[in-house]
Subunit: 116 residues, 2 copies
Amino acid sequence: MVTHMDNNSPDLDTVFLAFADPTRRAVLRRLGQGPASVSELSAPFDMALPPFMKHIRTLENAGLIVTRKNGRVRTCEINPARYAEVERWLTEQRRNWASRYGKLDALLDSLKGQTE
Amino acid sequence: MVTHMDNNSPDLDTVFLAFADPTRRAVLRRLGQGPASVSELSAPFDMALPPFMKHIRTLENAGLIVTRKNGRVRTCEINPARYAEVERWLTEQRRNWASRYGKLDALLDSLKGQTE
DNA sequence: GCAACACTTACCCCTTGCGGTAAGTAACGA
DNA sequence: TCGTTACTTACCGCAAGGGGTAAGTGTTGC
């Protein structure tokens, strides 16, 4: 059984790098509402389409979204499964120091729940 | 009331960028076991000290660790509170599409718990 | 005192990331 | 069929990231 995620994982590199940009995070948030075409996604941004498409490709390469082309329209959709790996890594990190910072562990749980 | 975290947050940029490197993730994991000096942390890596120190500074600037210098030794320690922001953002993302992917939401919960 | 130690500063190199433009292609829509 | 739409490809420029070396600074230990 694999008890921990490999820190050397290129997957984690690409996923975290994908998260490390405001435009891409905004796209992910928008896609949380449901699938959308590239033009729909790019509309709110003051950016030319080619560089915007690079963000889409970055998200797709990271596995955070899936896209498919129908006719001339490329539709993007979020890929929830990928989030699981990230959450697993963070959870494991937390477990790592949880025993040393017991009270803060509870704090994190309360913070996680505060948007409920 | 703030119901969502700003996607434009430079904090998220720096934190996710800090996570997007295997060396830094390994340092974080090591620090989960307890505080350590820079030399102790750098020992496992085939890397000169100056570039390694840049990783430490990156982690510190991201707020993921705190460091203090006693004499000639700089001691590093993990800063659990920062993880809360990241987890909050991820949790909110998940809530965003959870209603659309109800079954996968349960999947994520099970994945998060599988290292317990 | 003086050498060894633990960084620290100052630079260099190369690659990658994030933005841009110009021009091309394939699919609609009238 | 022919213009418009929705990307797509090809390219450019600049800044930042991740690595290196050389030399400097302040402690510590003998």
